[in-house]
Amino acid sequence: MVEILLDATVRAGTPILFATLGAIINERAGIINLGIEGLMLIGALAGFAGTFVSGSLLIGVLAAFAAAFIAGSIHALITVQLRGNQIVSGLALTMLGIGITALFGKTMVGRTIEGFERIAIPLLSELPVVGRAFFNQDLLIYFSFLLVFKVWFFFYRTRWGLAVRTLGENPAAADTCGVPVNLYKFLAVTVGSGFVGIGGAYLSLATTPMWIENMSAGRGWIAVALVIFAGWSSPRALFGAYLFGGITAMQLRFQAMGTTVSAHILQMLPYVFTIVVLVISTLRLQKGASQQPESLGLPYDREDRK
């Protein structure tokens, strides 16, 4: 029972984990990206179409990354190069994603592909309780474990990561140290967006191997909230994404067991949880335990006179 629930938790949490990691990369460089929901949809459709056309899951995942990378570069162009409003640009990106995927996805509706399959890791998958949930999964989930570590390693052990973190805190400091501010910001936004796209592709390649219009169903917004909950740290993002995945798994389980509580109420739970999480983490922020990058959301203009 616990094993099954844990397994469902990981599977439900993974797309959100990818999206949260992508959003963290964006925000660490000081750019708020509210286009996560749209990027997930773009990734989901591109991933599905790529696999459907080529027959290769790898090409599907790469297509999802590339499509979201390109879509993200619109946001990067507006917010980094043109110093536009990040909130407005992000919202527009989400709406663009919803619309464009509905339009181009029409031909993909009802088609099927072979999705990702489970690959058991010898020995580890035999472990009691956690074995099945963490070591008998598909390749994308293993990749997500790796990515959590990679993102952390990048930010805290490499010079580029230090430079990107500095951009989010005080871009002028990075600038006077000779860091090419706009280039790094641009890359953080686009690469981050690419990982969000893979999160979307997980939905259409693993969770349910098909394309359904608007299939991300608000998960992108949950990722936006989880970034704050995670305090802009990737290991905490893993925890947050699984917490959310766990609630999703649990409510599905309740429904399957046939409780008398309305299914609508149960389906609401993950979203209610998101609101609760946001309230709690915002309160924590106000208490001064803030890890929020200090220049988050502010455009950087070198010649701006303060």
Binding site: R159, R165, N170, A172, T176, G288, E294, R302, E303
Partner: protein
Amino acid sequence: MPDLLQIEHIRKTFPGVIALDDVSFSVAEGEIHTLLGENGAGKSTLMNVLTGLYHPDRGTIRVNCQPVAFASPRDSLACGIGMVHQHFMLVPAHSVFENILLALDRVPNLFSRKKYQAKIQQLLDEFDLQLDLATPVWKLSIGAQQWIELIKLLMRDCRLLILDEPTAVLTPQESARLFKVLLKLKQRGKSIIFISHKMREVMEISDRVTILKKGHSIASLSRGNYDDKRLAALMIGEDMIPQWEKRAQAGDQIILDIRQLAVRNDRGLADLEDFNLQLRKGEILGIAGVAGNGQKALAEVLTGLKSASHGQILAGGQDLTSSNARHSYIAGIAHIPEDRKSIGIAPDMSVDDNLIMKNFKNGTFNRWIFQDRKAIRRNAAEKIEQFAIKAGPDGTPVRYLSGGNIQKVIIARELSERPAVLVALYPTRGLDIGSAEYVHKVIADGATEGMSTILISEDLDELLKLSDRIAVMFRGKLIGCVDPQNTSREEIGLMMSGERQGGAA
């Protein structure tokens, strides 16, 4: 010595402002070259041009006789030009190590922490600096943060170091230490551009002085060819300096009695701790201390912007710390805030509107539910004349005024209600000498009429000139009170670095 840097006919304009008009000067190798000028003369703009942050509209920069064009700070760093900015370019949340590491050149993406820590430590030892590399920068004093900035440049092997008013945030002792390091660097052949408007320091350290005035370089003088009077005359020119006299002694009546006051900041640390102070009627009480030692918290708690976590503020025996009386009482306190543009005014609103912000609810400016624009205009015209504000055409947003005139707008507004107490936080910071003297005159005149003033400043000369008593703060605590008549700058400097004064008033 050959010239390391030559600057010719630099011009830089911002929308509506000519920041630099025609500036030329040169810096030789191994020279300490001082740029002297009032605020607004263009010193910082010029340095931002030199470091590639601003692009000049006209003019040439030569390094080693080769013309250069800096597209970004990267380019100027590549030429060996580095700067300690007045507003430090540090990330408070990052550790000392991380801040320095980012400034280093040619660090591989996967770097060895140990190797670079050792390198930095070596330099720290060389200059006898105690800095813990793992500490986050926000925990450090401003003085220590400045050392980090300097270390960043030295690690990068810059040949020309620019220091923009480095001593503004230091105690006299810390300044002396900085000068020692600068002289040592000079002996090693480094060139230094030193920006200041403190005449005492300029006389002490410079090999050559260039004076900037309103965007022009008006003179370059070598050591021996100038004295402080000559420099001051060149710097100020024909600007009028208002005259004022310090009036009689303060009265005995205690206006404010602060007892064991404590204030916590956003990070939960104590900004003020066990703070006791009494303010008498008509007294100018100077508060000395290096910036960031709780002065801001003191001003904010007195003016109602922050609440105390412990202790009492008594006025005439009434406890005002948290009661409703506080609100009505605060109405009688005038506040000249530290950051005049972001707290002192509403930058995009007109001078007229800014002048009535404190008392717009009074009947005087209202007719039924509408504003009485005529009365507002009349009030503004009156204040503009009385305080000699250069306000531009009617309806000009305050942001377009110069710093000195913005300060006059704030003062005119704050003093219009004849307050009992004035809390002035760095009221002359960034002002030219004429405007600064004007502020001094207003404070001194106010005291004559019975207004009590808490004057928080980092300029010891200002405090010594104006105050009846000087209280010294260090790390949120009161170190002691001294009489400016018989206390030296050095004694106050020692107290500013935390040494307690035995048996002082």
